[in-house]
């Protein structure tokens, strides 16, 4: 097998892309300078009272920018489409775009459906009116689909843990020394210093982030909302106490907290299990108060509903916190949990402690945001109306205040997933929590950086993956903020 070059037989596109990129950079610079130096386009008032702007030099720079941008995007698309068609014939880029085929298809279907029905989709649909939001959403969904399909072994070319002798630190596109039948014949992004496939590890790493980050953020939001609403609504002693606790956690440097919490020694003492048992109660509390405050006037409906929902929630809760039939299983003592035959899923201690500490670090900030919003909204007229109607405090908090605070909370949710991704990377970077052979991006960056001055390829793909995912989340949050302000 021949080693793959980056672009293979579509290398004729490279000089064109270079020209297009150069044109883009020059036109951006001209556009910025033009906006400072050049006069504004002359406006003329027409007879019917409308304004029309003439085509000044400024408009010209903008047009140049648009054309060069479109050219760059078209060329990038050409690389991907030709890559999908030609596969390894189009070099590493072609092979990678072919591997990502399920992701491209899902993205096209998702965007087509969303744009077709965007008027009926509320805030989500409005996202497709803002280019920034669309780019962000595209980046995020790219990694979400990559994570999901990667977990289904669709995109990966090799097992993320298996080592192939002779592939240690090999550059991207190196063929396997003696590939067997049915085995992918190249390491697309090279091998790391344990001769594992960098590309497959990057794809598998996406799954870890896609699994943990949104879920942990959601739990942090549940905790923050359940505590922040009463703190903001009631105020007084409760507020002082809870705010003190939140400030206490916020005053901890995050990394010190991680170093104290996420160690094998702490896992052995069962502290994370206690924290999990406490933190995971909040979603149950939240759901039960939410439903009860809404339906308590209709006991016939409320009671079966609560029994059903709480039953399932409790079952999930117990499955979540108990492992092998124990809630806490240390050498010194044990606490019985759900028996194994009822246990739906087991979470390994390493993942649980990572999850718990990320929730723990995020929830005080959410608490502060929710508290601030609740303090602001409780002075509104509709809250006073509900109070006059004689609604209970929890009804007002959860069904009057919370829905009206959703805009800032949704935006913060997106930003916070990005922040959680960064935190997970930090944990991996310091080798905390997740097992050392885990393919998550932080750990792979940490491994790759040790040989960075000689071999670039093991560290850079996960670094760019993390960068693009977090960037996508930030852009998505920006787009959402813009669109939600338009109402």
């Amino acid at each position: 097998m021949e080693p793959l070059s980056w672009t293979g037989s579509i290398a004729f596109l490279n000089p064109i892309l270079m020209i297009a990129l150069a044109a883009l950079v020059i036109s951006i610079v001209v556009w910025i300078l033009g906006s400072i130096v050049l006069p504004e386009a002359p406006m003329t008032v027409n007879a019917d009272g409308t304004l029309s702007s003439g085509s000044g030099l400024r408009v010209l720079t903008q047009t140049a920018l648009q054309y060069s941008f479109v050219a760059c995007v078209a060329l990038a698309l050409a690389y991907v489409v030709l890559g999908i068609l030609m596969g390894t014939g189009a070099g590493i880029i072609g092979a990678i775009s072919q591997q990502f085929l399920p992701v491209w298809l899902s993205l096209i279907i998702l965007f087509a459906m969303s744009i077709a029905f965007k008027r009926r989709l509320g805030l989500y649909g409005k996202l497709f009116d803002s280019p920034i939001g669309m780019i962000g959403f595209g980046l995020v969904m790219f990694w979400v689909f990559t994570g999901i399909f990667g977990a289904m072994d669709l995109i990966v070319t090799h097992d993320s843990l298996s080592q192939v002798s002779g592939m240690k630190n090999k550059v991207p596109g190196t063929p396997l020394p003696n590939a067997e039948e049915g085995q992918y014949a190249w390491y697309l992004l090279g091998g790391d210093n344990l001769a594992r496939d960098v590309f497959s590890r990057m794809v598998k790493g996406a799954w870890i982030v896609v699994q943990i980050a949104p879920l942990a953020t959601m739990f942090a939001f549940m905790v923050g909302i359940t505590l922040g609403l009463p703190a903001g609504y009631y105020g007084g002693r409760l507020d002082t106490f809870l705010s003190f606790l939140a400030n206490l956690i916020l005053a901890f440097p995050v990394i010190l907290l991680f170093y104290l919490l996420v160690t094998p020694e702490i896992v052995a003492t069962g502290v994370p299990n206690y924290m999990a048992a406490v933190l995971f109660v909040f979603p149950i509390l939240f759901i039960s108060v939410l439903l009860n405050s809404r339906y308590y006037t209709r006991p016939n409906f409320r009671t079966p509903l609560l029994i059903g929902v709480l039953g399932i929630a409790l079952w999930l809760y117990l499955s979540l916190i108990s492992t092998d039939g124990y809630i806490i299983n240390t050498d010194a003592y044990k606490i019985w949990g759900l028996p194994t035959f009822l246990d739906l899923f087991d979470i390994p201690g390493g993942i649980l402690v990572v999850f718990v500490s990320v929730v723990f670090v995020n929830s005080p900030t959410v608490f502060r945001i929710v508290r601030g919003l609740a303090m602001d909204i409780k002075t509104r007229d509709y809250v006073a109306a509900a109070q006059t109607r004689g609604e209970g405090p929890w009804y007002i908090m959860l069904w009057e205040i919370l829905p009206n605070a959703r805009g800032p909370l949704i935006v913060d949710f997106c930003l916070r997933i990005g922040y959680t991704t960064i935190l997970l990377g930090t944990l991996g970077f310091f080798g905390l929590g997740l097992p050392p052979e885990s393919p998550d991006w932080g750990s792979t960056i940490n491994e790759g950086r040790k040989l960075l001055s000689i071999y670039l390829h093991p560290a850079l793909p996960p670094a760019f993956a993390l960068l693009s995912l977090v960037l996508g989340l930030n852009l998505l949050a920006d787009g959402l903020r813009e669109e939600s302000l338009k109402d």
């Binding site: 906006s35 400030n247 005053a251 010190l256 702490i266 990005g418 990377g425 930090t426 001055s453 850079l460």
Partner: protein
């Protein structure tokens, strides 16, 4: 104002006490002590030997008692071994029963003895803090003016070309954590594969002899991540000021745009970023830990990683006290500064 500051100091003290107790509790859990015993004594100690080792040095007393000893409100633990050596909380290598003080805690000015570095904690923290302080100084010198400039330029004409490109720049920097940007910088500017080799990939020499070549990359890495956030806050504050009535009045009077920005808008627009910059310090602390590890610069963050990795209880406690102090003092300064800078609050 005096009462306000006094109350804040009270809260600060309470917070510091609670936090150090949490750190104390977590580092004194038995598996952590076992690790400490094995790294200090012998890796192959049996369980009984570990327990005896810990018991002799007073590690197995109740947590509250030990915490009191660390604070200096309870007398230190001391035991004379069979071979005449004195061990305990207040002893140093070579000290005897006579010259060991009865109390040795934070209140007495004694921060303890680091088991990793085999030195006084106070000395280590001071030395490492000096290194980090130097790093932070240059980070601030680079970060604050750039961020303010970017924010003001972007915010003075909302929606212009300059605004859009600078906003994109600040979003990208906020989305790039230090361990990503650091790795990318090292890859581009220092590796032999790319061949630029403009800078050095480690800052080890920068501790004795800081030069542009070995010190710029760590500074840039920390500064970039914080810069985006401050710039975005400045931009938001600037756009808000630029829509204010008095700016419109100035415009209608025919004041030139440069004068409007520098004389009318700038001062009002810089109140909010001041708070943000102050509250950015705790984040910089995180960045410092990552960057010092990445560039092997032996400062405060590096000491934190070493202390935490080896369960060096007293060093960890001192480090957490310092970082909590930094966080709370910056909060206090931001509150006071906000009141001082904002005439609407100051005068009323």
């Amino acid at each position: 104002m005096g009462l306000f500051i006094l109350r804040r100091f009270g809260v600060m003290l309470l917070t510091a006490l609670c936090l150090t107790f949490v750190v104390f509790f977590l580092t004194n859990l038995y598996p952590n002590l076992e690790k400490l015993a094995k790294t200090q004594g012998n890796q192959r100690m049996s369980d009984e030997q570990v327990e005896a080792w810990l018991d002799n040095r007073g590690y197995l007393q109740p947590t509250l008692v030990k915490y009191g000893q660390w604070l200096g409100v309870a007398p230190g633990y001391q035991k004379v071994m069979n071979d005449g050596n004195v061990v305990g909380t207040c002893t140093r290598p070579g000290s005897t029963a006579e010259n060991t003080p009865r109390f040795c805690g934070v209140l007495q000015g004694d921060w303890g003895y680091s088991t990793v570095f085999k030195d006084e904690v106070g000395k280590i923290v001071g030395k490492r803090l000096a290194n980090t302080g130097y790093l932070m100084f240059w980070v601030l010198v680079l970060m604050v003016p750039t961020a303010l400039l970017v924010g003001v330029l972007a915010g003075m004409r909302e929606g212009s070309a300059l605004d859009r490109s600078l906003s994109t720049f600040s979003i990208i920097t906020t989305a790039t954590p230090e361990y990503v940007s650091g790795v990318i910088f090292i890859a581009i500017f220092t590796s032999s594969t790319v061949g630029l080799k403009w800078f050095k990939g480690t800052a080890t020499q920068a501790m004795d002899n800081p030069t542009f070549e070995n010190f710029f990359l760590p500074v840039l890495t920390i500064a970039l991540y914080g810069m985006g956030y401050i710039a975005r806050m400045t931009r938001a504050s600037m756009t808000e000021v630029m829509t204010a009535q008095y700016i419109r009045t100035a415009r209608l009077k025919g004041v030139s745009f440069t004068n409007i920005v520098t004389k009318h808008a700038l001062r009002n627009a810089l109140i909010a970023p001041f708070t943000v910059i102050m509250l950015q310090f705790p984040w910089l602390l995180n960045g410092v830990v990552i960057v010092e590890t990445l560039f092997n610069y032996k400062g405060f963050g590096w000491a934190l990683v070493q202390a935490a990795g080896n369960n060096d209880i007293q060093l960890l406690l001192a480090i957490s006290v310092v970082s909590v102090f930094v966080v709370l003092v910056t909060q206090l300064i931001s509150d006071i500064g906000y009141v001082y800078l904002n005439p609407r609050i100051r005068i009323s």
